[in-house]
């Protein structure tokens, strides 16, 4: 089962997700990127039904871009989170998206923020959040070691501790993780934590 978790640091937010794409007992690939860059200063890590995840995150990404085109200014992280919740809530009683989301962003006035959005559209702003079976280990590790205003090094150290817990204690543990960070300079990929490397696909 997929694990996504995130935390807020001194002037940044980090989201980490496992990167295995699984279908029943088969692992399709181990380098699937489940954290989407919504715009220059927003990240959205998603877990859940594979098709819903890919489609819904892309839908949100395009709508965030559309807002910026139409209005000339980007959405704030809070606005993007509330928009996402609205879309999930509207679809909930018709054709629900089975996607759990951790949205992280950095705004000039507010600083870094992290939003937890359930698949049934429960929204809450948090300092640390996690989804999936890995959340049982992630939340406990973060409850123990998280402090407000951690530096990037301390936060990555905590993320690595969580990854180690998930790898050692979860029975079907995902081997690889991707870590992305967002701060005043923007959203970007920070690192991969790989214990299995996929065979590279030859260019056609």
């Amino acid at each position: 089962m997929e694990s996504v978790f995130g935390l807020v640091g001194k002037d940044f937010a980090i989201v980490a997700a496992d990167s295995s794409a699984v279908h029943s007992i088969l692992v399709h690939k181990t380098n699937e990127d489940k954290i989407m860059l919504l715009d220059s200063h927003k990240l959205m890590g998603a877990s859940g039904e594979t098709g819903d995840r890919a489609q819904f995150t892309e839908y949100i990404q395009k709508n965030v871009a559309l807002y910026q085109f139409r209005n000339g200014i980007p959405l704030t992280t809070a606005a993007a989170a509330n928009f996402t919740r609205g879309e999930l809530a509207t679809a909930l009683r018709k054709n629900p998206y089975m996607v759990n989301i951790i949205m992280a962003g950095h705004d000039k006035d507010v600083g870094p923020s992290l939003y937890f959005i359930d698949y049934i559209a429960s929204l809450h702003k948090l300092d640390k959040a996690a989804f999936g079976y890995g959340s049982y280990f992630a939340l406990s590790m973060m409850d123990r070691h998280y402090r407000k205003d951690m530096t990037v090094e301390e936060a990555i150290d905590l993320v690595d501790k969580v990854i180690m817990e998930i790898r050692s204690r979860l029975v079907v543990a995902p081997p690889n993780f991707v870590i992305k960070i967002v701060d005043k300079d923007g959203a970007r990929e920070y690192a991969w934590r790989e214990s299995i490397k996929d065979a590279p696909v030859p260019a056609v």
């Binding site: 009683r93 937890f116 429960s122 809450h124």
Partner: protein, 204 residues
């Protein structure tokens, strides 16, 4: 597990002498897992009207957004705030609209009406109003709350005594309910001021 017990909540409102108090717990959970300990369940509609929404968090958020929308329109048209009795009828109507696909919420409404007379009421998830002169309760801890309020309540309490009574009733009830707790949030409202306090209870 019942859909009403998915997130966990405890709500209570009490009438005092020319004042009222409304209190909630602070836990946001997903079944057995606690996600947040600062989740807001009581919302201000205007200076003399508060609504607490128990039950499924996503529906509570959706319903709150719809109610704020309706109240803001009302304020623009009527150039005054809504009376609590009118607001209760509005909530009841909105809930019954979804009679065959309801919002999984139980509201607790508390306000000061004409001549600052305290008004409290609760309703079920399809809008059946229950007016009371003394106290109303809702949520996963409602049975414990009924017992605690019945034994602790006295009519015509002053704001300070009302605060103590409602706090003790809330904390003792949530301690018997695993799905609610992690502190308390109490609003005491008189004709002249609104006092908001956070309670520290058993953090489990």
């Amino acid at each position: 597990m019942s859909i009403f017990e998915y997130n966990g909540c405890a709500l209570v409102a009490m009438v005092g002498k020319n004042c009222f108090a409304i209190a909630s717990d602070r836990r946001l959970g997903v079944q057995l897992q606690t996600i947040a300990t600062d989740f807001q369940k009581i919302y201000k509609i205007h200076e003399k009207l508060f609504i607490g929404l128990s039950g499924l968090a996503t529906d509570a958020q959706t319903l709150y957004q719809r109610l704020v929308f309706r109240h803001k329109l009302y304020e623009l048209r009527e150039e005054r705030d809504m009376k609590p009795e009118t607001f209760a009828s509005l909530v009841s109507a909105l809930l019954y609209e979804k009679r065959f696909g309801p919002y999984f919420c139980q509201p607790v409404i508390a306000g000061l009406g004409d001549e600052d007379k305290p008004f409290i009421c609760t309703m079920d998830s399809i809008g059946a109003k229950e007016l009371a002169k003394d106290f109303v309760v809702a949520g996963t801890a409602s049975e414990s709350l009924y017992g605690a309020c019945e034994s602790m309540f006295k009519p015509d309490m002053e704001p300070e005594e009302l605060f103590e009574t409602i706090s003790q009733a809330l904390l003792s009830s949530v301690d018997r309910d695993c799905l609610s707790g992690w502190g308390g949030h109490v609003y005491v409202v008189t004709p002249t001021e609104v006092t908001e306090r956070i309670l520290k209870g058993r953090m489990d």
